[in-house]
Amino acid sequence: MSRIGVLVCHCGENIGRTVDCASVARALGDLPGVAHAADYKYMCSDPGQLLVKQAIAEKKLDGVVVAACSPRMHEKTFRRACASAGMNAFLCEMANIREHCSWIHESRGDATEKAIALARAIVEKVKRNQPLSPIRIPIERRALVIGGGIAGIQAALDIAEGGREVVLVEKEPSIGGHMSQLSETFPTLDCSQCILTPRMVEAYQHPGIKLLAYSEVESVSGYIGNFEVKVRRKARSVDETRCNGCGECQAACPNKKIPSEFEQGLGKRSAIYVPFPQAVPNIPVIDRAHCALFRGRAKGLKKDACSKCKEACGRQAVDFDQQDTFTTVKVGAVVVATGYQLYSVGKQQPSDKLKGYGEYGYGTIPDVIDGLQFERLASASGPTGGKILRPSDGKEPKKIVFLQCIGSRDPAKGIEYCSKVCCMYVAKHTMLYRHKVHDGKAYVFYMDVRAAGKGYEEFARRAVEEEGAIYLRGRVSKLERTGNAIKVHGFDTLSGRPMVIDADMVVLATAMRPQPGIEALAQKLSVSCDGHGFINEAHPKLRPVETNTAGVFVAGACQAPRDIPDSVAMASGAASKVLGLFSNEELERDPTVAVVDETGCAGCFHCERVCPYGAVERKEIKDRKGVLLKVVATVNKGVCQGCGTCQATCPSKNVELQGFTDEQIFAAISAL
């Protein structure tokens, strides 16, 4: 027979006015298994808590029910009191007779009757409570950051500055991401390279940051505090420990006509190359698809077709036989910062579900470019040395038409969402253009100007009021190539007039999309993506940098279209979450987790399928000789969040949520 103590609180007059607390205590005291029942004016006060402790000691209680306010208010208080009296905290629960009773009813009779029922149900539940102890998980206090754009760099630096080790994985030969391609940045028009390069170098040189560039995450196992990550280090064909970045190899490479990814196809690079002069690390990589030697080898040539780079290298750093290698790192937390790509809006792309825009001629009309290409043209380090020149004939365009929302806000052939940054960068582009081509005319076709940020509206207005950009409200139907010009068929809905402009160049503000391969990466990390592939945050308002998988955080444009300030703020937020986690050696968690009864488990794995967190794992049961008997479900306590869905789903009732077992709940229901 259990020995439960029941303490009924008056909450001053709050409960006492409507509920006859003494009657409640009396009624509960008559229940079998209740060893003590009393009422008191303020249970949460120090004397009130003392009453609890005394009752435990004197009446040798093995369970406590406090009938008072909402457990969301004081459950912790009373559990702590119980624990200090030597009782397991989880044997104490509260019945809510204030918010759910005294405050919402007028009739003293009704309220008292209901209060008794509510408390009785909790008494029956507590009789069946088991002592539980908080779950403790050791934490590997090292973080993995995936993606070395501004978001990833910021997160890595913040975590390293906080005194914890970071492994930064970047798939390209250099970190920097898209910000390294930008010329000047809104809303202040400072030079992107100037503010980014020092941070790149800092990240590279920071003793707490291990940079794995030209690498990708191969697989991830484990859970919060204890991830094991396998990283593929792609073969650079250059020995990083020997190379000093002198660049002789690039100069020697005869194969110099390869469109540069960094220059968005507007410039050329060699087969052995560093993507851009400020690259970090400043170590070249051989693009094997374009290198004469590797092409020859692929064709089965006996003799190497070229080895000019190797010959040119004074440090014997070029290594044609390098292979991909794998590194395994143990980390306690992961920050995903893989950024975005631009929607390439050329004509229909069979591999893509998005259809592209034949009417805008991107890819067929040479002087129709996208925003990043314009950034390269405007960049002092770009292919034109910062002069705005048309790709087709190198002439200075006197009339540029910018088209906003290309691919965005377009459920028909693009994506429904707004890409958030393009309004701003178009305004920036019109200004940069005017600063460089004083007699140039910039036209912008827009639907709305979305400039909601500090200083953003002022910036966008400046483009119109001071820099003379002409904003036309409407979408363009078609671009038509006519001789040297591009005829832009648009409409200005404000004046109600069709607008046909003969442009020298057209810039499409194309939509931001997540990086290719994001879904595969998300799957490895068991985080979810939205319908477009952006990583889902745990809560859109209150947990914006967490994901549904504990220990995995998100920052920057891989979560949604974001500009630099937002990306950096998110990155610092994610870093502080990581540091918060790492401030403990162990992780302590509420023991409300599911437990599988392995003897009864039929191995149907319904639970595995419904668990929103992927907490259910498979476990092989073997006999002493090592013969496999069966495979059963097992819940990883580190991952389980305690929703109980698995329990309600299990057809054979072999998984129980601690603290909310069937037995406990059935008993409570029967007592109501």
Binding site: K347, Q348, Y357, G358, E359, T364, E480, R481, T482, K487
Partner: protein
Amino acid sequence: MKLGYFPGCSLHSTAKEFDLSLKAVAGPLDVELEEIHDWSCCGSSSAHATDHLLSIALAARNLSLAEQQGLSQVMAPCAACFSRLATARHEMAHDEEQAELVRPMLARPFKNAVEVQNVVALLQGLAGRIKAKATPLTGLKVACYYGCLLVRPPEVAQFDDPEDPTSMEQVVAATGATAVRWSRRLDCCGAGFSLSRVGSVVRLGRAILEDAKASGAQAVVVACPMCHSNLDLRQSAMEARRASLGLPILFLTQLVGLALKLDPASLGLERHFVSAVGVMRALAAPAPQQLPATRG
């Protein structure tokens, strides 16, 4: 290959040369055309513009006839008929409510099992065969004009990229002629107003033909009787007080026929208002005997 054939009203009258040339090239290309027995008008833009249900029902009747005849595919050379039939097929499959209204109006069971094809897709599929049999029309530069109904609306037409189609160019390439790059391939020529609003038609047609001319084309190739009659018949009006255009408007089937060395008369080449003589001469083919011009 056997195909159901829905000529439509215009191929029996104003676009007779389309009918003639189609039938002329069918033989050499091993295509057997079986006309839908007792077909009725697809309703054209008049039904479409005034009563949507009627436009679907009239077209569906023809599909049901083809089905009864055991045909699995119907080819409608006229772009307007193609569009009407394809729309009917699409909507009968996707709009159940409307389909329930239409089905009882048909005098026979209707499973909506007949596919609708147009002449461009057909010839595109036969490009290999054309190329094999063609005497290349080397040196001839043509502008492929799609107009509206062939590619739009995309979910109905469904045979080529609606904004950057290439199917006609592929056929032209098979004949050995050169398809020029130009911009106004998809612009509407206003054929719907050919009879009721000539001013608009002339304005639209002129912009199209001037662009074709500027791109160096010697002729314009079409696959729609309405585009054809519009651009052919109205060309003189388009030229009024402007530079002469002199662009013969050829049906795609006529071009293929020329490459197959068929007799120009059998292709109806002499029936055009804008003479194709220049083109013939360029190809050193026997020029068709031109009927007295009506221009000026």
